[in-house]
Symmetry: C2
C-alpha cells in the first residue's frame, strides 16, 4: 500500500526513523542494512531513498529528531539558576544522566553514539556535531567553574577546563559502562554518588 497524503508520508518517515533507531541501537549501524530498516518499518527501500539520501543522511535525521542531552543542557544553562555554580553543575550532570535513564529515544541515540557506530571518516559530519555540542557545553561550564573559584567553592589549584573535562568524562564514563551492561550497577545511584564525590573533591581543603 502506498501512502498518499502528506500526513501519511510523515508517518512513513517517522516509522523509518523509529525502525532505524531501534535496529541501529540493537545491532549496530554498519551491521544493519537499509533493507532491514525498510522491512522493519513495513516499506521497501524505495521509501528510504525517497526520504533520505543514504544511510548517513538517515543517521543525521535521527540526531536531528532527538535533542541530545548536552544540547538541552546548554539551553537550560542559559537560563538563570538560583544557587551556587557547583550545585548548578551537579544539577545539569544529573539531568543528562536522568534523560538517558528515562527517555528511550535519548537512550537509544546515546547508545548508538557510544557503542553502535564507528568513528570513521565517512561519519565525520555526525561526530563533528556530537563533538561540537560537547565542546560548546564544556566552554560554558568552564565559566561556571571559574565562578565557583571566585566564590571560594572550588579550590584555586584546579584548572577550570580540566575540572569540567573531568566532570564530563565522569558522566560519559558512567553512561558508557552502564549502557554496556545495565544489570551490573544502578545508573542513578552510581551517578549520584560519583558526581557528589567529584564535586566534594573540588572544595578547598580549608573549607
Amino acid at each position: 500500500m502506498v501512502r498518499r497524503t502528506k500526513e501519511d508520508a510523515l508517518t512513513t518517515r517517522s516509522a523509518l526513523l523509529d525502525a532505524a533507531e531501534r535496529l541501529f541501537s540493537e545491532r549496530g549501524v554498519s551491521n544493519t542494512s537499509m533493507n532491514q530498516v525498510a522491512e522493519a518499518a513495513g516499506v521497501t527501500r524505495g521509501a528510504i531513498y525517497h526520504h533520505f539520501q543514504n544511510k548517513l543522511d538517515l543517521i543525521d535525521a535521527l540526531m536531528e529528531r532527538v535533542r541530545l542531552p548536552v544540547d538541552e543542557m546548554r539551553d537550560e544553562l542559559a537560563q538563570t539558576y538560583q544557587g551556587d555554580p557547583v550545585s548548578h553543575l551537579r544539577a545539569r550532570c544529573l539531568h543528562i544522566v536522568g534523560q538517558v535513564h528515562d527517555d528511550p529515544h535519548t537512550q537509544a541515540l546515546v547508545n548508538i553514539l557510544l557503542h553502535k557506530c564507528e568513528y570513521v571518516d565517512d561519519a565525520l559530519p555526525i561526530h563533528l556535531r556530537h563533538l561540537g555540542g560537547r565542546n560548546a557545553c564544556i566552554t560554558e561550564c568552564v565559566l561556571l567553574a571559574d565562578k565557583g573559584k571566585e566564590q571560594g567553592l572550588i579550590d584555586e589549584k584546579y584548572d577550570s577546563k580540566a575540572t569540567v573535562i573531568g566532570l564530563f568524562s565522569l558522566v560519559d564514563g558512567i553512561m558508557y559502562n552502564w549502557l554496556l551492561d545495565q544489570t551490573y550497577f544502578d545508573l542513578m545511584q552510581a551517578a549520584n554518588q560519583a558526581i557528589d564525590t567529584y564535586l566534594a573533591g573540588l572544595k578547598p581543603r580549608g573549607a
Copy 2:
C-alpha cells in the same frame, strides 16, 4: 614471494596483526576489509585465512597480543604495595592512563575498543573478554576501597562498589574523550587532576 620457514611465517603473522591494528584503529573494524589488511601487510588474503579463521579471529588475536591495561593492573594489584589503599588506587589508574598515553599498541587497541568497533552480538566473545577483565578488576578494587574505609581514608557514607565504578568510569571517560580528539586537552594533566579531585572527594569531611 612465499615465506617458507617458520620464522618467516611468524613474521607474516605479525605483519598482518600490525596492519590490522593500524587499519582498524584508523578506519574502523567493519570499514576495513580483509583484502585491505592483506595488502597493507604486503600479502594476499590467502595469508590471512591461513593464519586466522575470519575477521573475529583476527581481532581476537589482536587482543591476545596486547595486554590490556586493566589486565596488567590486576597483576600488579596482586603484588604488595607499600602505602595506603587510596594511593594504591591512584597509582593504578594513572598507570592505565599512562600506558594508553605512551604505548602505541595499547593506544590503538583501546581506540579500537572505544571508538572503532560496534558492540554487536557477533563480536560478543571479544567484548565479553573486555567486560570480564574489567569486572574482575573492579571486584578487586572494591576490596581496596573497603580497606580504605576501614582505615578512615574513605568516608563511610560511600558505597564501595559505586566508588570504584565511578573511579573507573572517570578513567574510561577521560580516555574516551581524549581519543576522540587528542588536541582538545592534555591527557596526563587532565587525568591527574580529575583523579586527584575524585579521590580527594572520598575523604571523610572531618578529616
